[in-house]
């Protein structure tokens, strides 16, 4: 499977300004979050990037993208009808091709040389099917994420055949439907905010939007799992949701502590702790 396109969603009501925030990256360079996300995509060998935005946001995003602005295609979501609708708004951009999907309010930090997006794209290429990045998450965090259940693929660690997809399940439901062999008790595979999707997803969304005004994206993924091979992969890395309280701070700290300025930042933190 050849993956040449990526889609970033940034049209959510509380999400619009998040990719525009400035952060200092691993190399000590100040960049916008959007630029960091774009670089993550580029490192996966993808050059065509679509960004779904609210009407009127394009200028700000262009500025935030800096030197990468010319690579971007902006897609306006005409009405605020949710995440699935935002993705479906980019149907034309996807144009029957597989695509990498990321959310605009997450940062990904890899534990290896390869970026998270690169890891995911390589798996999707190798397996030739849709793959969602997932992270083993404690059940107390279930109210915040979509989650999947399934079996290990050929007993390969960290790769799962998805059998069920649920949006923010209760642990009661998760325990019954999202049991995954090999995970610790009380942990489930929750979405990482990064997927490689096949063209079937846009088709499923089209069908779902024919009958419904609002559609839950997890419903589309559940359909996908019923129709074709769909995997979940645990990546060597972590994601940081800077849309939550202190999320941006945590993301920044994570970036800094994994980069060049680690000692300086740590010293600052210790000083802070000592004087407060």
């Amino acid at each position: 499977m050849d993956i040449r396109k990526a889609l970033i969603t940034a049209a959510g009501k509380n999400q619009r300004t998040l990719p525009l925030q400035s952060l200092v990256d691993r190399d000590g360079v100040t960049k916008t979050a959007l630029a960091i996300i774009i670089e993550e995509i580029l490192s996966a060998g993808i050059e065509k990037i679509g960004v779904v935005i609210s009407p009127g946001d394009e200028a700000a995003y262009r500025v935030a993208a800096g030197t990468h602005a010319s690579r971007l295609t902006f897609i306006e979501q005409s009405e605020p009808r949710g995440y699935a609708h935002a993705i479906h708004s980019a149907a034309e951009f996807c144009d029957g091709d597989p695509f990498l999907l990321l959310v605009g309010d997450h940062l990904y930090l890899s534990n290896t040389e390869k970026g998270c997006a690169q890891q995911l794209v390589e798996i999707a290429r190798a397996e030739n099917c849709a793959v969602s990045a997932v992270q083993s998450t404690h059940e107390s965090k279930l109210p915040y994420y979509g989650a999947v259940g399934g079996q290990l693929v050929n007993a390969v660690q960290h790769l799962y055949q998805v059998e069920a997809v649920l949006e923010k399940p209760t642990p009661t439901e998760a325990e019954q439907k999202l049991d995954v062999p090999g995970l610790r008790a009380g942990y489930y595979l929750c979405f990482f905010g990064m997927h490689v999707l096949t063209p079937a997803v846009q088709r499923i969304l089209r069908e779902l939007f024919t009958d419904n005004d609002r559609v839950n994206f997890r419903t589309a993924l559940a359909h996908l799992a019923e129709h074709e091979r769909y995997l979940a992969a645990e990546l060597a890395g972590r994601r940081y949701d800077f849309g939550v309280k202190y999320g941006l701070l945590t993301a920044q700290l994570a970036l800094a502590l994994s980069g060049r300025d680690r000692d300086e930042v740590l010293r600052g933190l210790v000083e802070l702790m000592a004087t407060n």
Binding site: H138, E139, S140, K141, L142, P143, T170, P171, T172, E173, A174, E175, Q176, D179, A185, G186
Partner: protein
């Protein structure tokens, strides 16, 4: 040797697996039986399989309880190591078995040790079962996470947005869950007991119907009887309200949620925990409830959960409380998104979750129901059946079946709508008014199932066939056939397995209905664990309305007739019912409709109205306004104003009761002076439970061989002839002690034990009274002279006994039959905290299962609080007057004969009377055995006490040498618990009395009883003098207080008594002791003993002593 019993347990061949234990044991020698025990014990220790372990344990129990004691080779007597008994009390069953087995190795097998081993194996078997059911409940998927969650921040549940959104009037919506109860059409031989379902899933099947109920003549139409209501409140508390029990609490501490017996909100608390709102894993975490609520609802908010039962009484056998628990769990799960359906019916997967949680809730709350009890959650008529455990199930490899059954809801193709209507047109559903504990019955069923006793196993198979027949009849709409089949079930398999499922009351009802309705009475149907409470009578539809009227009258009349004989909790009720085709169903009440049930306001509004309106929150004020407006417009709230008025200004009801108590005390010779003296002594700590004991320096030893005469083994023709001659000459009379309330028999229900039709003997239910008379009749015939029979009575038992004997024409007893009415009565007192603590903390006692123990501890704390609040040692008057009085001990019953003229009357009729035989009402084997009479006469003793060799269950004292002199010692007086275990003999209380010598001990002669003697004063003084030498024991007794709709609370109360056995301590009385056969001396104290009594041949022995006609 190869063990044939292990082969039965492990065989995969049904024919071998289902062989009866009895059959094999009968053919085995004594040595074989001991070898089988050794092999079984080794086997159960190494087997990993639950079923194998439990069945081996039951085999071991049965061999020690029933088979070894029958063998002549087994030594009677023997000692039970006290240390083993202590282990048993602490629920360390394995250790107890070790100790008893060790003693068996060193001392040889004995009757006493077998009784101890039987008890230990029996309890270990049930503990193993209970542990497994609980483990399975925890491992059900969907339940596990709640045990992992220990911190509020980890609470993953969120209350649904719909419930957090206020209406325009500022109120939060109310989520209401309404749930039918369930009735069981087939009663497949109690196959709904968890273990049966888990061990024999193929045999676990019931036809379960969800029904709405109304009380006939009271309610306009049947409604779902239970409902649960939930809403968000703006206080960070859990507000729990039980409208049915009139209880409410604002809970702000986590620990309080887990305190079940503190108030009447245990069921609501269990629901809150089992639904995950306060997950079980957080118990004891020291975290804050407010924090937990904030995670689910946002800061400053809390939840209000309200339960309501449509006045359906307890003990209805319709699983009201389990379905209420399910409704509460359902509403909590919907509110937190654990069920996708916020309103409407539940989906199948959601219903199964509610079932799993209800099982968990019952475990947490320390109660337990059958696996079909949450049937009301499902719609209409369904088949519930066991499922064989498969690979991947948590039960796989542990038990044959799964914990959770499968439900198949019949559609109208399978059971047509017309058949359902016909069932409703024919069935009269009633509550007979009896509320009994079915726990012992369920244990009996489990035990018999595992032993595969031939007739019971046959009965079980037959019951399974009956289910198929009921189903066929329902498919065909043939309700008459349903009636015929359910009747056959009741009369056949059900009673074959458990004879105690039927009661005399039930049989009288059936008999009367059959006589009145003839062929239009199509059948009887027992609901639940036993009859007497919820029952069904099936009639030709044309006569249903008439049958409803008549059944009410027949039940009320029969209850009146038997109210002193059987434990009735309430007035019988006839229901209207309708099949509920929805199952549990929820709706969201918003805006103007967001009102709680009417009873909620009756409970909460009076207090709100007493408060300054300005201090009420705006939400509360708005709700009051809304409620006020609704009272004016809604028909269902009509009469509310009156209700509130009554609640705020209650009318005095206490006066009449206190008047009747005062007159009762006066009528029954209450000694107010003595009462005050006892109160003073109690308060000063001079008497009390601890002071009952003999001084600790008293030397208590077992008696010597020559202290007793053993008449337990051989008959003596010479002594028999001597006794018969005395009988023929009219020199003897028998006294049955029937003045006590028999509190253990009905757990303090206050019925007359003597009148209880406790078992079927010679084909009919017989009372203790009738049985004792039948024995005297046989002796009379044997001797050729009628034996006078005296029953002693008291304030509690006299009138009912007299009326009962009159109604039964003295059971046709040919000889003189006298009632000796008690002349002394005491007034119960609220116990002191000191005595409660002594009883609960200092005395060795049976620990309960972990959860039940928690509930018991919590209840005990509440009862200590009650005693402090009500006033320690104050008069106990907060109950029916009769429940406030107490008999003052059986010592007084012989002197009462002197005082009340009974002895004078006897002597006038029979001046030759020389010997009295005194025995307890529950010593069913005691009769005027000519040989024992002959022995007593020949010995020249004043009193000859009968003793038996001891078994584990024989607690409460015994025959001992105290400081070198043989005498009977009451259990209460034992300075150390273990001293009792060193005693070989147990006191039966049965006493042969030489009348003249006894009178002499009192300082009286028979001349004092001549009509012209006018010796009343002398007699009274003589009694007082001797009474002064007798110790007074302070005891705690359980007394039931009934309230509401069949609800019962049990309170421990203080009373005092003097006991007959202490006569043996008087130096001036020549007391002797004879050892008699166990069957003659054993007592029936507890209804749970009945089944063993029937099976071990004791009942047959008693029958052999009786001449019924």
């Amino acid at each position: 040797m190869s063990s044939s019993l292990i082969e039965i347990i492990t065989s995969r061949d049904d024919a071998v697996r289902n062989r009866s234990l009895d059959e094999i044991c009968r053919a085995a020698s004594f040595a074989d039986l001991l070898a089988e025990c050794a092999a079984l014990d080794a086997f159960r220790r190494q087997s990993e399989n639950l079923y194998e372990r439990v069945r081996a344990l039951f085999f071991l129990y049965a061999i020690h309880r029933f088979h070894l004691p029958e063998r002549a080779e087994l030594k009677t007597g023997g000692r039970i190591p006290f240390h083993g008994y202590e282990q048993l009390l602490q629920r360390r069953f394995e250790e107890a078995i070790e100790i008893f087995s060790e003693a068996q190795k060193t001392d040889g097998p004995s009757d006493a040790l077998s009784s101890a081993l039987a008890a230990a194996y029996h309890r270990l078997a049930f503990q193993t079962l209970a542990d497994q059911v609980r483990r399975s409940v925890r491992t059900v998927r969907g339940n596990q996470w709640m045990f992992r969650m220990g911190h509020p921040k980890d609470q993953p549940l969120r209350v649904r947005r719909e419930l957090l959104t206020k209406a325009a009037d500022g109120s939060y919506p109310i989520l209401r869950e309404r749930t039918p109860v369930r009735m069981d059409l087939t009663h497949s031989a109690w196959s709904d007991i968890f273990f049966l379902g888990m061990d024999y899933p193929e045999g676990a099947k019931v036809l379960n119907v969800s029904v709405d109920l109304g009380v006939h003549g009271r309610d306009a139409a049947p409604q779902p009887p239970v409902s649960a209501w939930l809403r968000v409140i703006e206080q960070p508390v859990l507000r729990l309200v039980s409208v049915d029990l009139g209880a409410r609490a604002d809970i702000s501490e986590l620990a309080e949620v887990f305190d079940f017996a503190k108030d009447y909100l245990g069921l609501l608390k269990a629901a809150v925990i089992a639904s995950g709102l306060v997950p079980p894993g957080i118990e004891g975490s020291g975290q804050s409830l407010g924090g937990l609520l904030a995670e689910m609802l946002g800061p400053g908010r809390g939840l209000e959960l309200v339960s309501s039962v449509n006045d359906i009484p307890k003990g209805s056998r319709l699983a009201v409380s389990t379905n209420l628990l399910a409704a509460l769990i359902g509403v909590c799960m919907r509110a937190t998104g654990q069920a996708e359906s916020l309103t409407g019916p539940l989906r199948e997967s959601e219903r199964r979750l509610v079932l799993a949680r209800a099982l968990l809730g019952e475990w947490i709350g320390g109660s337990g129901g059958g696996w079909q009890d949450s049937g009301g959650v499902w719609p209409g008529i369904k088949l519930i059946q066991g499922v064989v455990a498969a690979a991947g199930d948590p039960e796989s490899g542990i038990s044959r079946g799964r914990l959770m059954p499968a439900h198949h809801v019949f559609d109208t193709k399978e059971i047509p709508a017309e058949s359902r209507q016909r069932l409703q047109d024919s069935l009269v559903l009633v509550h007979g008014g009896m509320a009994q504990n079915v726990g012992p019955i369920l244990e009996m069923v489990t035990e018999k199932y595992l032993l595969r006793s031939a007739s019971e196993w046959q009965g079980r198979q037959e019951a399974l066939g009956i289910l198929a027949q009921v189903l066929d009849a329902l498919r065909d709409g043939d309700i008459a056939k349903v009636g015929a089949v359910t009747t056959r079930n009741f009369q056949g398999p059900i009673q074959t397995i458990i004879p105690w499922a039927s009661t005399y009351y039930t049989e009288r009802l059936i008999e009367q209905v059959r006589a009145e309705f003839g062929a239009d009475f199509w059948g009887f149907w027992m609901l639940g664990g036993m009859s007497g409470g919820g029952m069904g009578f099936i009639f030709a539809p044309a006569r249903k309305a008439e049958a409803q009227q008549r059944l009410q009258a027949i039940m009320s009349e029969t209850k009146r007739e038997l109210q002193h004989a059987l434990p009735f909790a309430m007035e019988p009720v006839v229901y209207d019912f309708a099949i509920n085709e929805n199952g549990t169903f929820a709706d969201l009440l918003a805006g103007g409709n967001a009102l709680m049930p009417a009873g909620y306001y009756a409970l909460t509004v009076p207090e709100l109205l007493r408060q300054d309106q300005r201090t009420l929150s705006p939400l509360r004020r708005a709700e009051l306004d809304k409620f006020g407006a609704a009272c004016r417009t809604r028909p269902e709230l009509r009469g509310m104003v009156q209700t509130l008025f009554d609640a705020m200004l209650p009318r005095g009801k206490a006066d009449a009761a206190s008047e009747s108590l005062a007159s009762l005390l006066q009528e029954n010779g209450f000694d107010a002076k003595q009462h005050e003296q006892i109160r003073l002594q109690l308060r000063e700590g001079r008497i009390g439970l601890a002071q009952n004991r003999l001084p600790t320096n008293a030397v208590i030893e077992d008696v010597h061989e020559d202290d007793v005469v053993d008449l337990g083994h051989a008959r003596s023709a010479r002594l028999e002839a001597r006794g018969l001659a005395a009988l023929r000459n009219g020199e003897a009379a028998v006294i049955s002690l029937a003045a006590g309330a028999g509190s253990r028999w009905t757990q303090g229900a206050g019925v007359v034990k003597a009148l209880h039709p406790f078992a079927k003997l010679a084909g009919r239910h017989r009372t203790f009274l009738e049985t004792h008379l039948a024995k005297s009749r046989r002796i009379s015939r044997l001797a050729g002279a009628n034996l006078p029979h005296i029953f002693t009575t008291s304030y509690l038992t006299h009138e009912p006994t007299a009326a009962f004997l009159a109604a039964h024409a003295d059971y046709g007893y040919e000889g003189p039959l006298l009632l000796s009415r008690g002349k002394s009565v005491g007034l119960r007192m609220v116990p002191t905290e000191r005595d409660l603590r002594f009883a609960w903390e200092e005395m060795p006692q049976q620990m309960l299962d972990e959860r039940q123990q928690k509930v018991r501890d919590s209840l005990r704390t509440a009862l200590i609080g009650w005693a402090r609040g009500a006033g320690e040692s104050s008069d106990y008057t907060d109950n029916l007057p009769l429940q406030c009085l107490h008999p003052v001990g059986h010592w007084f019953e012989v002197p009462n004969l002197f005082r009340n003229g009974t002895l004078a009357q006897l002597l006038a009729q029979r001046p030759q009377l020389k010997t009295l035989l005194l025995h307890n009402i529950d010593t069913l084997g005691a009769d005027v055995d000519p040989m024992l009479l002959g022995h007593h006469l020949e010995s020249g003793a004043t009193l000859t006490f009968e003793v038996i060799t001891r078994r584990l269950e024989d607690r409460g004292g015994g025959l001992a040498r105290v400081n070198g002199r043989p005498r009977l010692v009451e259990g209460l007086a034992m300075p150390r618990e273990e001293a009792e275990f060193a005693l070989t003999y147990y006191n039966t209380l049965t006493t042969w009395i030489d009348l003249d010598r006894l009178l002499e001990a009192f300082g009286l002669t028979r001349e004092d009883f001549a009509p012209e003697a006018n010796a009343d004063e002398k007699i009274t003084t003589a009694i007082r003098n001797l009474a002064a030498k007798m110790p007074t024991y302070v005891t705690l007794k359980d007394v039931k207080k009934r309230w509401g709709h069949g609800q019962e609370d049990i309170f421990p109360v203080t009373q005092f008594e003097k006991l007959w056995g202490d006569m043996s301590a008087l130096l001036e009385i020549d007391s002797r002791f004879v050892v008699v056969p166990r069957r003659r001396g054993q007592q029936l104290k507890d209804q749970a003993q009945l089944d063993g009594w029937l099976r071990d041949g004791s009942a047959a022995y008693v029958e052999s002593l009786c001449a019924w006609e």
